[in-house]
């Protein structure tokens, strides 16, 4: 029993990480039709921003309030990079989707290389509060606190995004834009502002995933974003592009399947099962669990 609960909770921790990356990807894709390969870069910026701030920023540190400050710095850095990318690189190519994808591909190559050039290719130990290294006993299972932190953060982010989409004017614009962008433009609303906003939200969520992922794994390396990104893509497709709730469901399914099959089957089999799941979903329900609707 203890093993099952442990696996379920660590699987949910993984799911939380996927959700944080996938929610932004899904919104960006739903609204702007941009498959954002540079999303892994935002994650890397968040992780390295936190790592740098913990060591160098006055007041920030690996523990207590200092750690909160460091994470805030990392998230701010990721958000800033996301906004800059949207304004400088994506916006001039408005409605030319294939070029936008190509630019994000180039950006992911160059950005990761830049991180590697600045801080080296090797993984660096991540500064983390002592309590995240310990475990909590839940129903007889010893669950690492880092994973629990991820789950809590993901639930908070999910709630915040849903509340934003539901109760604010820009949330309304984004929801409408995902369903029918031309109509929103025809009503005289500048959708491009919503694009920037969605990029900022996605960048912030991805940067948070980078920072908390660093806590969870204990290290930070330039390539971390890339490997997570592929599973985040799978989550986005299974969940249905443009749907935050769909991404959440899909992230939970993918995280749990991966964790359980990797434990009870051979290591690596879980990853393959996830891809099999993707193929099945695409063949039976090509629009994903929730389809192209931003539900709130």
């Amino acid at each position: 029993m203890g093993t099952v609960i442990l696996l379920a909770l660590t699987g949910l921790g993984l799911a939380a990480l996927y959700f944080l990356v996938a929610s932004g990807l899904s919104l960006v894709f739903g609204l702007a039709d941009v498959l954002n390969f540079a999303h892994g870069l935002f994650l890397g910026v968040g992780a390295y921003g936190t790592w740098w701030a913990a060591g160098n920023l006055p007041g920030a540190g690996p523990d207590g309030f200092g750690f909160v400050l460091a994470v805030a710095f990392g998230v701010a850095a990721g958000t800033l990079v996301a906004i800059l990318v949207e304004l400088v690189l994506i916006r001039p190519l408005y409605s030319r989707t294939i070029e936008q994808v190509l630019v994000t591909v180039g950006l992911s190559l160059a950005g990761v290389a830049l991180l590697q050039a600045t801080w080296g290719a090797d993984a660096r130990p991540f500064p983390r509060p002592d309590w995240t290294r310990q475990v909590t006993g839940i129903l007889g299972a010893q669950v690492p606190n880092g994973g629990l932190l991820l789950i809590i953060a993901a639930v908070l982010v999910l709630g915040a995004i849903l509340a934003f989409l539901r109760w604010t004017r820009y949330g309304l614009v984004i929801r409408a834009g995902v369903e029918n962008r031309e109509m929103v433009t025809a009503l005289g609303i500048d959708v491009r502002k919503a694009f920037t906003l969605v990029f900022a939200i996605g960048g912030a969520a991805a940067a948070l995933a980078g920072a908390l992922g660093g806590v969870y794994f204990g290290t930070v390396s330039p390539g971390q974003g890339g490997s997570l990104l592929i599973f985040a893509f799978i989550v986005v497709v299974i969940g249905g592009m443009g749907s935050v709730v769909g991404s959440a469901y899909a992230a939970v399914v993918v995280g749990l399947v991966q964790q359980f099959v990797n434990y009870y089957g051979t290591s690596g089999l879980g990853d393959i099962c996830v891809v099999g799941l993707l193929a099945v979903v695409l063949l039976l329900r090509p629009q994903g669990i929730a389809g192209k609707v931003a539900t709130a």
């Binding site: 498959l35 294939i98 591909v105 050039a117 890339g226 497709v237 690596g268």
Partner: protein
């Protein structure tokens, strides 16, 4: 689907009637002959290659460049000519590399049998996976192919059944290979093999794109719905292109494993597909020579920029500049982004873009 409407490169402007015009159709043949006799020259090109042109190191680099020129030309059959954005092309190349390596090293088959089995297997794999992936279109297709390629990467890295050697790769067992393909002194034969592969791919792609099937593929790129309205089945034609490109890529893998002398897991990564995409876009999608040029140039720069990054000229720069410049991917990624913005047609469109410029700069004759 407007998503995959790759703008075809502008048709080359009609060149001036004259001698060049008459020679033009034979230029590829001349280039082939020059490349074929290149190993006989002992010229040193300082700064471009280390050592003379016919030294084994240079020939190996050239052979790898030629292979990737061929791979990029094959990938262009999907991306530039049919408008399919596949992110999993590395899988079929890796199937060629690992298939040959495993069959020769682990099963002890003679090379020709291993090569035949691998190319057949790679083509069947492409047909099967393509049949599933092509149920989707556009970005979903890109993601599905990416996911399939990821399975390949996992299978290789986790080393199921102890076949692939996992993270360390699998060196090719050369004892059973023909003597002419083994050893440093025989690098020249591998070079010719790579040249033959490139020629084959260019020939096949040229013939296919000139055939009625090729015209349907171009139609799919420009307006898929219209092809459907004309009564043709887009799915079948796309599957043909996907299978053919997969088969060509696995054949490239067979030659590549001979040149490099083993397989390493990085060739299964999605980065390889991304770099194929970069090659095609840099060279010029949908053109005959663009992707080849792009592939050759990309691989050359990827190898040489590493040397350039550690050279004194870069080391003496301040750290802010020298560190990014020592990363080939940073330079190539930046060049790629700039190319998307400023040279959408790639290298192949340079002449048609520069000709009007040169003409306007030429002083006009006084009246």
């Amino acid at each position: 689907m407007t998503l995959l409407n790759v703008t075809p490169a502008p048709a080359p402007t009609a060149s001036k009637p004259g001698r060049l015009h008459r020679v033009r159709p034979f230029l590829p043949l001349v280039a082939l002959v020059v490349l074929a006799i290149l190993p006989y020259s002992t010229i040193t090109l300082p700064g471009i290659f280390e050592g003379p042109v016919n030294s084994p190191g240079t020939l190996q680099l050239l052979a790898i460049c030629l292979i990737f020129g061929g791979l990029a030309a094959g990938y262009d059959l999907l991306f530039g000519r049919t408008g399919m954005l596949s992110f999993g092309h590395a899988l079929y190349f890796a199937a060629g590399v690992y298939g040959t390596d495993v069959l020769v090293t682990r099963a002890g088959l003679p090379l020709w049998q291993a090569a035949l089995l691998t190319v057949t297997g790679g083509t069947i794999l492409a047909a099967l996976l393509g049949a599933v992936a092509l149920r989707t279109v556009g970005i979903a297709f890109a993601m599905v192919t990416l996911a399939f390629a990821q399975v390949g990467a996992i299978l290789v890295a986790r080393d199921f059944g102890g076949l692939t050697g996992g993270e360390e790769g699998l060196p090719l067992d050369v004892s059973g290979l023909p003597a002419g393909l083994v050893g440093v002194t025989n690098t020249v034969n591998l070079y010719w093999l790579a040249l033959a592969y490139l020629t084959l791919v260019v020939f096949v792609v040229h013939r296919v794109s000139g055939s009625p099937t090729g015209r349907v593929l171009a139609g799919l790129r420009d307006d898929e719905r219209r092809i459907g309205v004309l009564g043709l089945d887009p799915y079948r034609y796309k599957l043909v292109a996907f299978t053919l490109a997969g088969g060509l890529a696995s054949a490239g893998g067979v030659v590549y494993v001979l040149i490099v002398g083993g397989a390493s897991p990085h060739i299964t990564s999605s980065e390889l597909t991304l770099s194929l995409l970069v090659m095609v876009v840099l060279g010029g999608p949908g053109t005959r020579w663009g992707p080849v040029l792009g592939g050759v140039l990309y691989m050359y720069l990827d190898h040489r920029l590493t040397a350039f990054g550690t050279s004194d000229a870069v080391d003496n720069l301040p750290a802010v500049l020298s560190r990014p410049l020592s990363q080939p991917l940073f330079v190539l990624g930046t060049v790629f982004i700039l190319a998307v913005y400023f040279f959408p047609g790639g290298l192949a469109s340079l002449s048609s873009r520069l000709t009007p410029l040169a003409r306007s700069l030429r002083p006009r004759p006084p009246h």
